[in-house]
């Protein structure tokens, strides 16, 4: 009897066990109508692009603003973190490196801090230490600005990273609460993910005290805290293979801990999923403050708090849209300025930096903006992952 029960329990447990591995990301959710589609992820560049081959002059900005080449020769450059002594650390994906940039006034030099990592896109500075998040590894470099040769402390075990890799390259940041915020994307295009995924967590700096702060997030690659309200705003990539026009990427606002942002059942401003259907799919879901365009690939967010730009930009957001691949006519490849209303429930979205996309129909582009860093003088740095370069945006017009 006991044995039968045990066998039954085992049998019942089997399908659950089988489901622990997520379904395939790529073709999952590709409808028959798109079976012959030849859309594919856009190619990145892993060799150095010389500065004189980067057409910075093609960038367009509002009157009084200027973009100039600040640093180059760093293939795959994404998120930036600045130390107290002014050194800047930059994460990458495929090439597996973290760069360190030293500003020498007239020019910038860089070196590779660490390499051979699996998509170390997450970088953060905290208490003089550099935190590096790869998909499967967390390293901490103490006092790195003063001691370039410091050996890293391996923090991987403390953060308990789950094994699936897809959508689990990271953007990370320390919040105003001193906690380290780390996203765990859905390991697929569309699926009911295992419980460790599709969420945002926060940890103490040493990896202890883990707390899931939000769920139903497909793939956030950027977040920042409002300088006045302290609320977290984050970008989230919409799913692929539901057609050219949606579901759109999201800009979300986290008003409290424990909210559900809808994935995989409810997308954008209430679009029900076509593969994973359930009744009242959007019930209890916190919808985005704004949608940011179909397949736009929304990346980093910067709340501007500097003195250099005109006052109207104070406490507004810059959001990078790296640009679409799962769309026949390309969209994004720009930086937008997003201005929230006082209550944070509405925003206006205006183009800020354009010119990366040369022919949307032909899919011709030269650069893909990804992340920001506000400098002490109020200028803003922008990374271009495609060119492996950093541009400096300054303002010299009337205020």
């Amino acid at each position: 009897m006991k044995r039968t029960l045990l066998a039954a329990a085992l049998l019942a447990a089997l399908p659950v066990f089988a489901q622990q591995k997520p379904p395939p990301a790529w073709h999952q959710g590709k409808p028959p109508a798109l079976a012959d589609s030849k859309l594919a992820p856009l190619p990145g560049r892993m060799t150095e692009t010389p500065a004189d081959e980067i057409p910075v002059g093609k960038l367009k900005l509002p009157k009084g603003f200027k973009a100039e080449m600040w640093a180059s020769g760093m293939p795959g450059a994404r998120a930036m973190a600045r130390g107290d002594d002014g050194k800047i650390y930059i994460g990458t994906r495929a090439i597996g490196r973290v760069y360190e940039v030293t500003d020498e006034g007239a020019k910038r030099t860089h070196r590779v801090v660490v390499d051979k990592l699996t998509q170390p896109s997450g970088v953060a500075m905290h208490g003089g230490s550099l935190y590096v998040f790869a998909i499967d590894k967390v390293l901490r470099f103490d006092g790195i600005e003063k001691n370039a040769a410091v050996a890293p402390v391996d923090m991987t075990a403390a953060f308990d990273l789950p094994p699936e890799q897809h959508h689990n390259w990271k953007f990370v940041a320390f919040g105003p609460d001193g906690k380290l915020y780390v996203p765990f994307g859905a390991p697929c295009n569309i699926c009911e993910p295992p419980k460790e995924y599709a969420q945002l967590r926060r940890y103490n700096a040493d990896g202890s005290g883990m707390e899931v702060v939000a769920r139903g997030i497909r793939n956030t690659q950027g977040f920042a805290w409002h300088p006045k309200t302290g609320e977290l705003w984050f970008t989230d990539h919409g799913r692929d293979w539901m057609g050219d026009n949606g579901p759109e990427d999201e800009l979300n606002r986290m008003t409290k801990v424990g909210l559900n942002f809808g994935y995989p059942y409810c997308h954008a401003k209430g679009v029900q999923d076509v593969d994973f259907k359930k009744a009242d799919a959007c019930k209890g879901v916190t919808l985005p403050v704004a949608t940011m365009g179909p397949h736009a690939a929304v990346m980093g967010i910067l709340f501007y708090t500097g003195d250099m730009f005109p006052k109207e930009y104070r406490n507004t957001m810059f959001v990078a849209r790296k640009g679409s691949w799962n769309r026949t006519v390309k969209f994004g490849f720009d930086v937008v300025n997003v201005r929230p209303s006082k209550d944070g429930k509405k925003v206006s979205v205006k183009p800020f930096m354009t010119g990366f996309l040369e022919d949307a129909k032909a899919g011709k582009f030269w650069g893909r903006p990804t992340y920001f860093l506000q400098m002490p003088d109020g200028a803003v740095l922008v990374t271009d992952e495609q060119m492996g370069a950093i541009y400096r945006i300054s303002y010299s017009g009337k205020k």
């Binding site: 990301a25 073709h27 190619p43 897809h166």
Partner: protein
């Protein structure tokens, strides 16, 4: 007179440097040819053909191997130690311009029929294109060595491919070994 000669010498040097960057030096190509074949068509089991591979694909893989992100056999890793980006680009351009491998015989009708069903289900052609010539960062599969294709697909499926695209691993998720064998047999025989 002396000045003119110096000027010509500088011009010639510049010419040779430019030529060296555009085309890989013979001594750089020789070790490649030893395994990958003089015409980029490999006769060595486990070693891929490089002829007619998209330039960006070759470029990316050489960078990943140089960086130690993609782990390959020690001889290959040693051959790329310290190679500069300009040399990598020249090598990639060289192999992309070579004529594709010519399989001795086309796939038999039954293999082709069964393989096409899998191709359709797994959406292989979406990225690799219907003729499997590849494009940009996506490799050519047509005419590649059969055992190389099979091992590459198994490595992706079983999460053993270091430095691989996470999308590709997901695309082969759960595909049976027999199906991978069939795909490899089919693709290797495509012109």
């Amino acid at each position: 007179m002396r000045l003119a000669r110096a000027g010509r010498w500088a011009w010639l040097t510049a010419f040779f440097i430019a030529a060296a960057q555009a085309q890989p030096a013979a001594e750089r190509l020789a070790p490649c040819a030893a395994c990958h074949g003089a015409a980029g068509v490999s006769a060595v089991p486990g070693t891929p053909s490089l002829a007619a591979q998209p330039a960006l694909f070759v470029e990316n893989q050489l960078v990943l191997i140089r960086e130690g992100v993609r782990e390959v056999n020690p001889a290959m890793a040693a051959a790329l130690k310290g190679i500069r980006d300009a040399e990598i680009r020249a090598l990639a351009k060289h192999y992309a311009a070579l004529a594709p491998p010519r399989p001795a015989e086309p796939p038999d009708a039954q293999t082709a029929k069964r393989a096409k069903t899998i191709v359709r289900k797994a959406h292989c052609a979406s990225c690799h294109l219907p003729d499997f010539a590849g494009r940009e960062q996506i490799p050519r599969l047509a005419g590649q060595r059969e055992e190389y294709l099979l091992e590459a697909m198994r490595a992706y499926r079983d999460n053993r491919r270091s430095g691989g695209d996470t999308l590709m691993a997901a695309a082969l998720y759960g595909i049976a070994d027999a199906d991978l064998q069939l795909l490899a047999r089919y693709l290797a025989r495509l012109p």
